[in-house]
């Protein structure tokens, strides 16, 4: 049948045309197109990969920031606490010191009072002693003159002696 009989001319022309078209397209069309497509796809894949990487890095950075912040907060509270402790301690120390000073001053004062009191008593004693001696002297002088008068005088003296 004619339909199934390949024509020689068409066969040759088709073969020629196919081979020529194949080599032209291979060199000038498929090569640049396929390489461009490949480059583009690789570029997109790279971009996606780097975006993913940046995302991860950002997350990491955020985590770091947060941990830093938390740490800073902790530090701040610790510092506050320390300062408070220090000030408390200082106050307590100052109080203690003040108390000790006060005690010391009090003790000194008491000692001084005591000393002065002793000195005063000693002086009084000495005075009394002198007075007694004076009185005794006078009494003794009078006694020798008049007995009545002596007694009267003693009484007078005794009345005149006032302690304090």
């Amino acid at each position: 049948m004619d339909l199934l009989n390949p024509g020689f001319g068409l066969l040759i022309w088709t073969l020629l045309a196919f081979l020529i078209v194949f080599f032209i397209l291979k060199k000038f069309a498929w090569k640049p197109i396929l390489s461009s497509l490949k480059q583009r796809e690789e570029g997109i894949a790279d971009a996606i990969a780097s975006a993913e990487k940046i995302k991860i890095e950002m997350a990491q950075l955020k985590n770091e920031n947060e941990s830093l912040l938390a740490k800073a907060r902790e530090e701040r509270s610790a510092m506050l606490k320390e300062a408070k402790d220090a000030s408390d301690k200082m106050i307590a120390e100052a109080k203690e010191k003040a108390r000790l000073e006060y005690d010391k001053i009090l003790a000194d004062a008491q000692a001084a009072i005591h000393q002065q009191k002793n000195a005063a008593i000693t002086e009084v004693k000495n005075e009394v002693g002198r007075l007694v001696i004076d009185v005794a002297e006078k009494v003794l002088r009078k006694e020798l003159n008049n007995k009545n008068e002596q007694e009267k005088y003693i009484q007078e003296l005794a009345g005149g002696v006032k302690l304090n």
Partner: protein, 397 residues
């Protein structure tokens, strides 16, 4: 479909009714623009006996030495094409096919066989079938216009299939080169535009759906070939669908070349595993004797199937469309009213089939490319079992 419309149904019933009443010639049938119409009408006007649907059908499907559009009476409107002949006796000769005057004259001792001459040969007692003669062929004749079977002719003419193919390929090359230039000009990171965009989506489809699944990591090596085959078939399929154009992809010579190229590519892709599978298949020894011839034949049946599939699909589509158009004139040769009456039905069906043919143009190009990739994949299969899904038994359509 067209039959859904009651109008068409009515037309069909009406025309069938009229058919049963008449047997007038086709001479007055419609003034439609389709060239089939004119040709048939002219055939009738020339009083060449009866309408011969078979001959017209073959004329549409087969190759020819001219683009024949229509006849006005005895005047042919056609585009002559160059005839290039080689014969060992006469050497090369090249001239336009118009020199033959549609088979009415001899030129440089050659003649284009037309119906009259074929009839004459038959009367002279030449075994036409055995000599492989038919209308549209060029033969060598002597001075008395008698057939010279001794002179062997190699017909290398630019027939209408060749010319149409070259035009289609020129367009294809221009389209692809211009979009390739766009890639080079804009760099890979600019989004594609216009025709480049359309072509790019097809290329990525072929790469991702045809090459990668079938060829695994070898795909880059075969991409240019598979893409060229796909676009080569596609552009010729589409050009073949233009009204009045030649049926390039539905010609066995065209598909034979493509299948031959595929065969060569498949053979060059084979590895040891492939051949050992054919000549020493891993089956019990008794079965080997059956399987070895089967496997060996398989080498040839694969490209043969490629050839027949594309040819048959495209020829069938063109035949169906031509037949549907011709139905108008078959009815019209009974009575003109039947011709008019049937034309809407015929046209409806033709448009429907035409739509399918557009689909088929893409599908067949895809199937040829895909099966070629499958066969190449099978040829170097077993080299690496790296988890690529090779299709073991391709669906043969």
């Amino acid at each position: 479909m067209s039959l859904r419309s009651p109008k068409y149904l009515l037309a069909l019933v009406f025309s069938l009714f009229i058919v049963s009443f008449s047997n007038v010639s086709v001479a007055q049938s419609g003034d439609q623009n389709d060239h089939e119409v004119r040709k048939t009408r002219n055939a009738a006007e020339q009083k060449e006996k009866k309408l011969k649907p078979g001959d017209i059908l073959m004329e549409h499907i087969m190759d020819a030495h001219e683009f024949h559009f229509l006849n006005f009476g005895t005047h042919h409107v056609s585009l002559p094409l160059p005839v290039i002949l080689y014969s060992p006796q006469k050497g090369f000769s090249a001239f336009m096919s118009s020199k033959f005057e549609h088979g009415e004259k001899t030129y440089k001792g050659y003649r284009l066989i037309d119906e009259h001459y074929l009839e004459k040969l038959r009367d002279e007692g030449v075994d036409i079938k055995k000599a492989g003669l038919s209308t549209g062929k060029i033969i060598a004749v002597n001075d008395n216009d008698a057939y010279e079977p001794a002179t062997k002719i190699y017909d290398l003419s630019m027939t209408r299939n060749v010319v149409q193919m070259l035009v289609a390929l020129a367009l294809l090359v221009w389209l692809l080169l211009s979009s390739a230039k766009k890639y080079q000009r804009n760099g890979p990171n600019k989004s594609p535009s216009g025709m480049q965009n359309a072509i790019e989506s097809v290329i990525t489809f072929i790469r991702d759906e045809v090459a990668k699944p079938n060829l695994g990591h070898h795909y880059e090596k075969y991409m240019p070939y598979i893409l060229t085959v796909f676009f080569f078939i596609l552009i010729n399929n589409i050009f073949g669908l233009l009204p009045g154009s030649a049926n390039v992809t539905g010609n066995i010579a065209f598909t034979l070349v493509l299948a031959l190229v595929s065969f060569v590519v498949i053979l060059f892709s084979t590895n040891k595993h492939f051949w050992s599978h054919i000549f020493w298949p891993p089956v019990p020894h008794g079965i080997k004797f059956i399987l070895i011839p089967v496997e060996f034949l398989g080498i040839f049946t694969k490209p043969f199937a490629l050839m027949i599939r594309l040819f048959a699909n495209m020829v069938a589509g063109h035949m169906v469309i031509t037949c549907l158009i011709m139905l108008i004139f078959i009815f019209g040769s009974m009575t003109p009213f039947a011709g008019y009456g049937f034309s809407p039905v015929s046209l409806g069906f033709t448009i429907f089939i035409y739509m399918i043919e557009i689909l088929v143009a893409f599908i067949q190009a895809f199937i040829f490319a895909n099966l070629t990739a499958v066969f190449i994949g099978q040829a170097f299969e077993g080299e690496h079992h790296d988890g690529n899904d090779h299709i073991e038994d391709p669906v043969i359509i």
